[in-house]
């Protein structure tokens, strides 16, 4: 374990594991809800980092996949499917197909065109969700029954959803970490730094990018499914482009393309929003300029403070 970023991640995971017990004992149990929110954001942001950090593809439509995951849960439950593993499989399939189609179109372009097209596809998904009148339309839908794991309530608030989310978080971290170290990840970064060179070396840049886009979309849908299950509520707000913007903020604040950037960023942003919100109801008046300040003056994000010199694969 020469790499400090592995220690940082391990430390965070260990803290997250003991946090609910400690918070319960100190009478601060409401904070576990915030931790779950941060973890769910971190899962979606890690997936996005695969695109933005490693692939150099700035997507503003990532929250569409979060929305898809959440609505698969809601619609699946309404249709009588209760097993969370079945719902998970459906979410992965739907998000994967949506990513395959929109990705294939969006990746015909690059740079700013890509950004705007992912934004447009994200809006398309959002408007589709708002038009689902049978599932709440604009207002969203409260989930009166929740998904079960073979009949047990382990993946519910009544059970141990905190641990389930933590387990998915660790698994996602490990998966993205492995992808980053794999040949696939190296090709992705090579194409980010110089697409022509990667193409001349015989790699189909388009295929590698599309694969990354599909993987990222599928992971985000898992985050969405768990978010719905944890909130016991779905709403099209999950799929707004502002939510995609939040995920990008998390990445940049945490440190783009770094191993723990998404994790640190999500914890920090959730804590910062909560703290600002406690001081001032109009916390965005501070948060907005703060964001501008971070972009203008702070480079490298939180990750470079905690683990200097390990800015992640290939950076």
């Amino acid at each position: 374990m020469r790499d400090r970023s592995l220690l940082v991640a391990g430390g965070i995971f260990a803290l997250l594991l003991i946090a609910p017990g400690v918070l319960d004992a100190t009478g601060q149990a409401y904070l576990t809800g915030l931790l779950m929110k941060a973890m769910l954001l971190a899962i979606a942001a890690m997936a996005l980092d695969l695109l933005v950090g490693q692939g150099g593809m700035i997507s503003l439509g990532h929250s569409a996949f979060v929305g898809i995951g959440a609505y698969v849960l809601a619609i699946g439950l309404a249709a009588g499917i209760e097993n969370i593993l079945v719902l998970l499989a459906i979410a992965l399939a739907v998000a994967g197909s949506f990513a395959l189609v929109t990705g294939a179109l969006a990746l015909r372009t690059s740079g700013v065109y890509f950004l705007m097209i992912t934004l447009a596809f994200g809006q398309m998904a959002y408007f589709t969700l708002t038009s689902l009148a049978a599932y709440g339309g604009d207002d969203g839908l409260t989930l009166w029954s929740l998904a079960t794991l073979f009949g047990s309530n382990v993946a519910q608030n009544a059970g141990h959803i905190y641990l389930v989310i933590l387990a998915v978080l660790v698994a996602t971290w490990w998966l993205v970490h492995r992808i980053g170290q794999s040949r696939f990840g190296r090709v992705l970064r090579a194409a980010r730094d110089n697409p022509e060179r990667a193409a001349v070396m015989g790699f189909s840049v388009f295929r590698y990018r599309l694969t990354a886009y599909v993987i990222a979309g599928m992971i985000a849908s898992v985050a969405g499914l768990l978010t719905a299950q944890q909130n016991e509520f779905v709403s099209p707000a999950l799929a707004t482009w502002q939510h995609s913007g939040d995920l990008l903020v998390i990445l940049v604040v945490g440190g783009l393309g770094s191993r723990n950037g998404a994790l640190l960023g999500a914890l920090f942003i959730v804590a910062a929003q909560e703290a600002l919100g406690a001081v001032l109801p109009e916390w965005r008046l501070i948060y907005g300029p703060l964001l501008v300040g971070v972009v203008l003056f702070a480079k490298g994000g939180l990750n470079s403070l905690l683990a200097p010199g390990t800015a992640g694969p290939g950076r």
Binding site: L115, A120, L132, W241, G245, V249, G288, V294, V295
Partner: protein
């Protein structure tokens, strides 16, 4: 649908389209010339509408309010450029996205704090408050016709400025090779500032003329920003002519789609389903159009020559 209704929808579509053009024109110029992606452009449209509301209450005259709003929108745009945007021209697109995202959050919240979260409206100016008969049974509000006219006039003016004046020549040259323009002794920073200020003023102008027809509310610029993006992608980034053509196309298709889609789906699906599928399909139409155009013309309908 009767022919009269169809005609009204066409006019509404044209009106929406010209307004989209006003917003997209600034966006496409700023991107074409500076390679700068400005998510806060939609907020500048909102600022224009709120300024019109505030000035109308101060002065009591729509015309003075409109003039003051445009001047303020220009000053506001230049101030934003000076404070934030000019430090981001050389940075990558992600930084630009985030900083302008921060500005959106701030200004939307500020509008909520100053004017409250409820929707506001201002009356149509008296001079344009009537409606005129177009056919025997069709009357159409003068104000909406006037906004179509204003949009087309601005389009013509912009076209003349960009293609037939010295500043326009510099803008086109700057869009192609900014380094070369700079090397030839042109103050490129000042050129950027002019383009940015004009873009902000156009968005503000769109906000002013939208104020009497649409609801003024925090976040009103966010959704129209996305549609403006669709417009400049379809038209070709950096192209004024493309933005005009695409603006009208998107405005017409979106407006007609909303009234036709439910009817069209009702002929295929049972009515209860059509009520759901129709509106969903209608709001997706422009994105489907964009995807289709990208398949055949990845650079848009009328791409600007040499622009990035």
């Amino acid at each position: 649908m009767s022919f009269t209704l169809f005609l009204i929808q066409c006019l509404n579509g044209l009106q929406y389209g010209t307004m989209l053009f006003l917003i997209a024109a600034g966006l496409t110029l700023v991107f074409g010339v500076m390679g700068f992606i400005n998510l806060a452009h939609g907020v500048q449209y909102m600022v224009g509408a709120y300024l019109a509301f505030a000035y109308l209450h101060l002065t009591g005259s729509f015309w003075i309010a409109a003039l003051l709003s445009m001047v303020t929108a220009l000053v506001f745009g230049l101030a934003l450029e000076f404070l934030v945007f000019r430090h981001l021209y050389g940075r990558d697109h992600l930084d630009q996205v985030l900083a302008t995202f921060g500005i959106i959050l701030f200004l939307n919240e500020l509008a909520k704090v100053i004017f409250g979260p409820a929707t506001l409206s201002i009356p149509v100016p008296e001079l344009l408050s009537g409606s005129i008969p177009l056919t025997a049974e069709l009357r159409y509000p003068v104000y909406r016709l006037a906004t179509i006219g204003a949009g087309i006039a601005v389009a013509g003016l912009l076209y003349i400025v960009v293609s037939h004046t010295r500043v326009g020549m510099l803008i086109r040259a700057g869009a192609t090779t900014p380094q070369m323009v700079s090397a030839l002794g042109v103050n490129i920073e000042r050129l950027f500032m002019i383009v940015f200020g004009v873009g902000a003023m156009l968005a503000g102008f769109a906000g002013v003329i939208a104020a009497p027809i649409f609801a003024i509310e925090p976040g009103m610029g966010d959704n129209i920003l996305i549609v403006a993006f669709v417009v400049i992608i379809i038209g070709g980034i950096g192209s004024i002519r493309g933005a005009f053509l695409a603006g009208l196309l998107v405005g017409l298709i979106d407006t007609l789609g909303r009234s036709l889609a439910t009817m069209a789906t009702a002929s295929v699906f049972p009515p209860s389903m059509a009520d759901q599928i129709g509106p969903a399909l209608a709001s997706m139409l422009i994105y489907i159009l964009m995807a289709a155009i990208l398949i055949f013309r990845p650079k848009g309908l009328l791409p600007a020559k040499g622009a990035a």
